[in-house]
Symmetry: C2
Subunit: 438 residues, 2 copies
């Protein structure tokens, strides 16, 4: 019998729980799962006989360590900032570790020790980062094997809402951490990407103005804005000689124009607390950020744009702000009330790689699309694409299918090949088109 320790059973763990339960008998797994909300956890695992739940108290490091000591492998679905302390315990007790999150510098710093102990610390194993790495590497490796040279890589991904469940003027609902949506693009340093061998910087406050159309064949035209650092995977992907590299986020058409105004007003600022806003109306709050020429600003808006702002409550003189916070935190509390998935709502995942390459003096472009809808508001496409790669990786490590030690990304052929194959069974299917570039 193998023991899997799962830390954190929030929204994005739903599908992972199902996957582990489904495979538990077959592979003789016992899953120990800890969360800070024991009641919610109990209801989630009530129908899962291979699970044992416990109250996770990270302040009690001895308790946390005792669970890690007893496990064969640890999966951390905790907030990204907490992975490192878990990782250090995993080094101490020689346990393998899986996380869906970006590799932090601190995590990478454990690399030598992890290799020395023969451990696997697999990270960035969700949708984006995760499925994007694997599906892109599959294409890169295939093209390179054919003698092609990769010239341009643009990759976009977005978590949206299915057309039939889209009933708000932003054409968006939260299928993952709302805070990350509000703060998208923020952080120290500019947003950078590479275009025709030129490094390009964009300041945060212009990000939502610098949008490119993303055409999803047979589905529609969306818009994409660049992620913060498109360049950090140049080396990881082996694309040192590439001319253009951009990773971006997909939104419905019109979203970025609306969000740009939200940003321009200063509503996404998370660096200070708004004075005396608790108990004021939504309108009072928004008024604080309205420019003097609000009427002009509003007058210049299309109906579609105006609708977005009335939907948020720009003219709501009744609803009250419930607690003090930064502009971003208050905006988030308002948006969460209006833009959560409702019962029966299905989310929608879109991903597109645009890869240009040369082969035998001709230039080609591959467009590879992923379209995946969720089943309902709990069994979301987001929870699938984050949870399934984690579950499959867990199986691959426990079964000895993947053995390479180190702190790593899922970019090796021995990872992505079996992974992408199993994911097809869950509807994660990329459709590829190739065209000649004139």
């Amino acid at each position: 019998m193998k023991t899997i320790l799962l830390l954190g059973a929030g929204k994005s763990s739903n599908v992972l729980l199902d996957y582990l339960e489904t495979n538990a008998s077959n592979y003789d797994w016992q899953i120990s799962v800890g969360d800070i909300d024991l009641d919610s956890l109990k209801s989630k695992i009530a129908d899962k006989p291979h699970f044992k739940g416990f109250l996770l108290n990270l302040d009690d490091s001895e308790n946390t360590k005792s669970y890690i000591q007893k496990a064969d492998i640890v999966i951390s679905m905790l907030p990204a900032i907490l992975h490192i302390s878990i990782a250090k315990y995993c080094v101490e007790f020689s346990k393998n570790l899986i996380t869906p999150s970006y590799i932090s510098d601190e995590m990478m710093a454990l690399s030598e020790e992890v290799k020395f102990k023969g451990l696997i610390f697999m990270n960035e194993l969700g949708l984006d980062p995760g499925i994007d790495h694997m599906s892109a590497m599959e294409i890169f490796d295939r093209l390179r094997a054919e003698g092609a040279e990769i010239k341009s890589f643009k990759s976009y991904c977005g978590g949206l809402v299915a057309k039939e469940c889209d009933d708000n003027p932003w054409n968006y609902k939260f299928s993952w951490n709302p805070r990350n949506v509000i703060l998208a693009g923020q952080g120290k340093g500019g947003i950078k990407y590479q275009e025709n061998n030129h490094l390009k910087y964009i300041p945060y406050y212009n990000l939502f103005k610098r949008v490119e159309p993303v055409v999803m064949s047979g589905i529609g035209t969306y818009e994409g804005y660049p992620n913060r650092d498109s360049l950090k995977y140049k080396l990881v992907y082996g694309l040192n000689q590439i001319e253009t590299m951009l990773r971006g986020t997909i939104r419905e058409k019109g979203y970025c124009k609306g969000w740009d105004i939200v940003v321009e007003m200063g509503l996404t600022d998370d660096t200070y607390i708004v004075e005396n806003v608790k108990g004021k109306t939504y309108n009072d709050f928004f008024e604080m950020f309205m420019p003097r020429d609000t009427l002009n600003m509003m007058g210049g808006m299309t109906d579609n744009l105006l609708e977005k702002f009335f939907f948020l409550g720009f003219d709501d003189h009744e609803s009250l702000i419930e607690k003090d916070g930064s502009p971003a935190a208050i905006l988030q509390s308002i948006m969460e009330k209006k833009m959560g998935l409702k019962p029966g709502d299905r989310d929608l995942i879109l991903m597109q790689h645009q890869i240009e390459y040369t082969k035998e003096n001709k230039r080609y472009k591959i467009i590879s699309d992923l379209v995946l809808e969720g089943k309902d508001e709990t069994d979301t496409a987001m929870a699938s694409t984050v949870g399934l790669p984690i579950g499959i990786m867990c199986k691959m490590i426990l079964e000895g299918i993947f053995k390479t030690p180190g702190v790593q990304y899922p970019i090796a052929k021995e990872v992505y090949e079996p992974m992408l194959e199993e994911l097809v069974g869950f509807g994660v299917v990329f459709k590829e088109q190739v065209e000649v570039v004139k």
Copy 2:
């Protein structure tokens, strides 16, 4: 004989040095002055028999302390961040202190101790903050004595260049710290002010769009943008019940429109280092920040605006960036080469208070203007308006004219009355107009 210890003898100390020398015989002063640049200091005090210069080494605290111990009063013209350590020594050795800078929280925290020891720590004693405090308080106190109620206070100040010496398309030259000009408006938290009893926030990146005309009677129309925190002097000035309060910066017409584009491009970001920019051309640097639709952007510009950017070197394929740095640091290095005061250039200080008040059921508006030109590129109006209040305050304390202890702003009548009176002799004259507000 009284000993004055002056720490720091940079650009803004020039007029102060002259003032102290001129008064030294009369009042029996000896001035000990320390600077990190001993050669430059020596040349500055060569013709000043009452001065003794020394090499200031702040790392050697024993040395610094020994000078403070021997002084009757200490003037710190060091960078603002260094005042606090000097202030602590002044508490230790019971010495009075004068600085031109904003009172930091750490400085204010010394208040009780300073009062207990009967010391005077006078701060914010330059142009802005400084002369603005004093000239505004003089009007407030006068109006309040007449039974008026102050309803609105807008105050603008700017360091510009005299019309005859204005030979660049930005209509601006550096008469004080260039870094502060580049980073103007940045910092944690939004920019806030109050308008008709409503608190208003502006995000940094919209600051230079929210400009108001500032009409200087007989001189011309300028533009003003709000400073970061207009509200922190509400209590200090006793304006708790005021409806509108805004403190701002004056620039020549058109400057803000140009600077807004500089900000929009991300050129004022000081949070990261631009990659591999040393040795590249000015054009290479600017290109990194150009949006994809640069030609459109440029196409939409007036000639006047275009000229500003060509002046900065947007199309300069020859001049090279000399060292790596943040976008803001590189922009500063470029602008310093092009926008410094040339030999013979005279700077120009403008200040305007707009005060609305009610008296006997009528509403009035006072407009109070200060216009002051420098003599040349060293004897600047900026150095006068920063140095003279410091010098005069020093005299007032040494002569026992001002005795109130504490960490303080120059807002008491016993400070501003003699100070403004003496400043008139140096051309610091406010012209006042009153009109009835309909």
